[in-house]
């Protein structure tokens, strides 16, 4: 764990000196602020439900941008050789990298904290769905970041990692789109696999352990695969 935190800490520091992190953060805040204002003006409801629902789409693109450099850049610059010849387990490297991106994402979410404060100042929001909504966004974000970490392990090119990442996150989000055309067993599986089918309960203030477990399993599976990819890179 000590190694994981050391790697996460170094990576967070690298985020703060890289323009990418600032640009992505600024873009996310701008878009979400615009959506917040627009939705509020149109619906005149003291809820973040519609906003959060829309943010998921943005997240599909933002997460791979935050993770693209994590392992790709280490492989390109050769610093991975230092990490992998230090007394550190491969999974500690992967976990540390992912934690750093999760930390940054949590920070971004924190910066949106003034939306509920505005609602509270001028209206009477239902706090349950707001809190579970944030929890759901963090879980979903963590899952997307884990998928992005996986694609970043696959290549030494950040752009390729980002493109593969967006492809994977969008696919994982929309995989149930065709489920109504498929037969019963397949449609059930597709719906279960889809990231989106586990998300919207959170926005209604419902926390289902099955949904939480689903996201956690996807995170573990993606990080496990990323570790294996890193390991097989040694064998080349």
């Amino acid at each position: 764990m000590r190694n994981t935190l050391a790697i996460a800490g170094r990576e967070l520091h690298a985020y703060f000196v890289s323009p990418i992190a600032y640009v992505v953060t600024a873009a996310f805040l701008l878009l979400s602020g615009y959506l917040f204002a627009a939705i509020l003006l149109i619906s005149r409801e003291a809820t973040l439900r519609y906003l959060f629902g829309n943010l998921t789409t943005i997240l599909l693109f933002v997460a791979p941008l935050l993770t693209m450099r994590l392992l790709a850049e280490e492989q390109r610059s050769g610093t991975i050789e230092l990490l992998l010849t230090s007394p550190v387990q491969d999974w500690e490297v992967v976990l540390g990298k992912w934690l750093a991106s999760l930390g940054l994402f949590a920070g971004i979410l924190l910066l949106t904290g003034y939306y509920p404060l505005i609602l509270w100042r001028y209206g009477n929001p239902d706090w349950g769905p707001v809190l579970t909504g944030y929890g759901g966004l963090l879980l979903l974000g963590g899952t997307l970041l884990a998928l992005g970490t996986l694609t970043s392990a696959l290549t030494r090119n950040q752009i390729v990692a980002a493109v593969l990442g967006v492809g994977l996150t969008v696919l994982a989000w929309l995989i149930d789109a065709l489920s109504q055309f498929a037969g019963p067993p397949v449609s059930g599986v597709l719906t279960y696999l889809s990231l989106s089918s586990h998300f919207f309960d959170f926005l209604r203030g419902i926390v289902d352990t099955k949904d939480v477990l689903y996201y956690l399993s996807v995170i573990v599976a993606a990080l496990f695969l990323a570790t294996r990819v890193l390991e097989t890179r040694r064998w080349r």
Partner: protein, 321 residues
Amino acid sequence: MIEVENLTKYYGDLAAIRDLNFRVERGEILGFLGPNGAGKTTTMRILSGYMPPSAGTARVADFDVFDDSLEVRRRIGYMPETVPLYPEMSVRSYLAFMARIRGVTNRKGQVDAAMEACHITDKADTIIGKLSKGYRQRVGLAQALVHDPEVLILDEPTIGLDPKQIIEVRELIKELGHERTIILSTHILSEAQQTCDRVLIINEGEIVAEGTSQQLTDRLTRGTLLHVQVAQPGPEVIAALSRVPGVTGVEPEDGGSYGVTCAQGQDCRTAIAATVVNGGWGLLELRAIEMSLEDIFLKLTAEDTATPVLDEQTEQTVEGR
């Protein structure tokens, strides 16, 4: 300290190294000498635990590099050929990070000591991306030292440096070698001779020669080649040079130059100079020709394998007559 047995590594179908066998004793500086593509980096990557061998074993401090990889990694400091650094970090924070993931408890003290040893204390707070190549190389060395490892593995530590920096880094390595076991790779013969206690010559993935720097020097200077240039060349010059004691061959070249071979262990330069001057031919130049790595390989392989073949052929021709 390091024992390598039948070490083999394939990249796909290509054998980068084949059946390497060697040992490095505690406190020794071993030079790994070979041209590009010889398999130096591959060997070092296996020793450092970066990648597993295809066959054979390597042990560092009695730990297998594959089975006890973490134990091995704790004991070695490795500087890869590319000297990978995080350009956005300051020297101090970079070294502190490397110390941390290698489990150093007294981080401040160790980082300061490593910076001192590599003479980079004055750059402690500089961002690595802004350092010159020479300084980066030293940061790479400091990184390999920061956890005070028993074994140092340095892949071409002087590549890309200017002559002054090369001398500095070589001195530094010799200093470090007082307490540590070091393997360093190079493709420069004189570097291996000057810096290392023992040299291992590797070509196309195989060890072609091994010995102390002195042995190697003796072996290679057997039959030194001299370059002699005179103002008035002529057949009498060749005749006179051939009569100089110790000279085994004279080859005329362009522009009044001669390639003169001397027998092993003999320095015939004084005698040659005297002969040319006495003959009144005007000595313009007289120098020993340094062997390139290619010459060395030709020579070593000729000694080891080609010589007996040649003898056989000569005998046959003699019989045939």
